[in-house]
Amino acid sequence: MGKYIEMIRMRFLMMLAYRTNYYSGIFIYSINIGAYYFLWSAIYGGQPSIQGMTVEQMTTYVAIAWMARAFYFNNIDREIAMEIREGKVAIELIRPYNYLIMKTMQGLGEGIFRLLFFSLPGMIIVTFVFSLQFTTNVHTWGYFALSTMLSFIINSQLNLIAGMVTFFTLNGEGLLRAKRFVIDLFSGLILPISFYPEWAQHIMHYLPFQAISYIPSMIFTESFTGDAVIKGMMFQAVWCVVLIVPIYVLWKAAKRKLIIQGG
């Protein structure tokens, strides 16, 4: 366990060394949030609420969804694809740790870095500029923290799967880009799932994507209350466990494939 914590720490320090890159990142996110803020205000027009969400809840939803994204987002899919292409993965396999867990821990180190140096200052800027609604309910914050942690796990698991699939395909780049669009659209980052037409919601209920952004953001804006919170987090927890299966299978197959490639 100690070695994995060391991984988190090392990645955190590495990110810290390049922190100036992140200052402009804060502005990118703020601008994105700003665009959506005005867009949603215009979409609501005079309507007091759409799909049970008020305009304040909606703008807060967008802000928190983007800020939470800074935490759960990572590039481990690209890193895995690159390490495979360059053959580095062979060395990684000899080392005394589990490659996949190590990658996830590096992602976590990155996430913690962005949470502290990116999301928090970004959130402060955004709350000054726009009128957002933050709950003072401690339980909500607690649920949100837990839910965001679960969304980190699910997003990382999906990244691991995507990264490993590039073991088998020649062109990984297109696949990874496609995965990003799917996640942007179906995770609830740009649109809450409840806005989609019935049939689309029905399909998405059988997919893990809404666990990434929709559920934590709905919890934060208190659009989910009572049972819905617990149900949402159960949904996340179930997917966390379910996704272990394809990861395990792919990893087995990928290791076999790698030996052939290495000759």
Binding site: I31, Y44, G174, A178, I190, L191, Y196
Partner: protein
């Protein structure tokens, strides 16, 4: 004439290299289509819950998006200079470019062209066609000429902004991390600017004139007479932006010292 023949020579080389890797090309097409699809789905879903966006209808917003895709794809095909700093200055490639007897910016445009992005323009035309058929717009014969002018204007606005940003690397060694930010701000111009507050509207019109890529020119074809002045300014803004950026570029090239030994 010399420049035109160089252009076509580069282009034929480009097509040859691309056709060598056909699956890559197909994957790129598909992921571009998905990207455009995400934005379109956003508009469609949102208008499932509202009738008007500050007085603009669903089909008008779709029209603006379709129009935006045309100049944007031209820009993406020919002015792919967002990583100019890393690619040319840090690696010293600029030295090679400068030894050749063709304008440096023109060479970089040729070297970095990505013609497959032009497909986005066709998508844009289809999206616009869909919107037009639902809006029952009628066009005059000279609207075609205006369309071409507005598209070129928008393309040059985009190009001007990005060339200016790339020129900054001649002066400072700042990383190109503000480039993705610009792509995001560019998206602002896809929606009617009157939904934003005054400061943002001013910035989008006069400082970073992205509104001239989407909403202003589209307003003409949508017959929004109150925006006509801005619509007709589109080609002018394109020329002004592009000229300023080329001047800035030339000044930067004079100052360029090379990165290594």
């Amino acid at each position: 004439m010399f420049y035109i023949s160089i252009f076509f020579q580069y282009m034929s080389q480009y097509v040859k290299t691309k056709l060598q890797y056909r699956t890559d090309l197909l994957v790129e097409f598909l992921s571009d289509l998905m990207f455009q699809g995400v934005n379109l789905i956003f508009i469609l879903v949102v208008f499932g819950h509202t009738q008007l966006l500050n007085g603009w209808t669903r089909d008008e917003i779709i029209f603006i998006y379709g129009f935006f895709l045309v100049p944007f794809s031209l820009f993406a095909a020919f002015f792919n200079i967002w990583d100019f700093n890393e690619r040319y200055i840090v690696r010293g490639e600029m030295d090679r470019v400068l030894t050749r007897p063709v304008h440096s910016l023109f060479q970089i445009v040729l070297e970095r062209m990505e013609l497959e992005s032009l497909l986005g323009g066709i998508t844009g035309l289809i999206v616009m066609g869909y919107a037009v058929s639902r809006l029952h717009l009628s066009f005059h014969w000279y609207d075609v000429i205006l369309f071409v002018l507005f598209v070129l204007g928008g393309t040059f606005v985009y190009a001007g902004i990005f060339i200016s940003l790339a020129s900054i690397s001649f002066w400072s060694d700042a990383r190109s991390s503000i480039m993705p930010m610009m792509y995001n701000i560019g998206n602002y111009g896809r929606y009617p600017v009157d939904i934003y507050n005054r400061v943002i509207r001013y910035v989008l019109t006069w400082v970073l004139p992205f509104a001239f890529v989407g909403v202003y020119p589209s307003a003409y074809f949508l017959r929004k007479t109150e925006w006509y002045t801005y619509s007709f300014l589109t080609p002018v803004m394109g020329i002004v932006c592009f000229t300023l950026s080329v001047l800035l570029w030339n000044a930067g090239v004079k100052r360029y010292r090379g990165a290594g030994n």
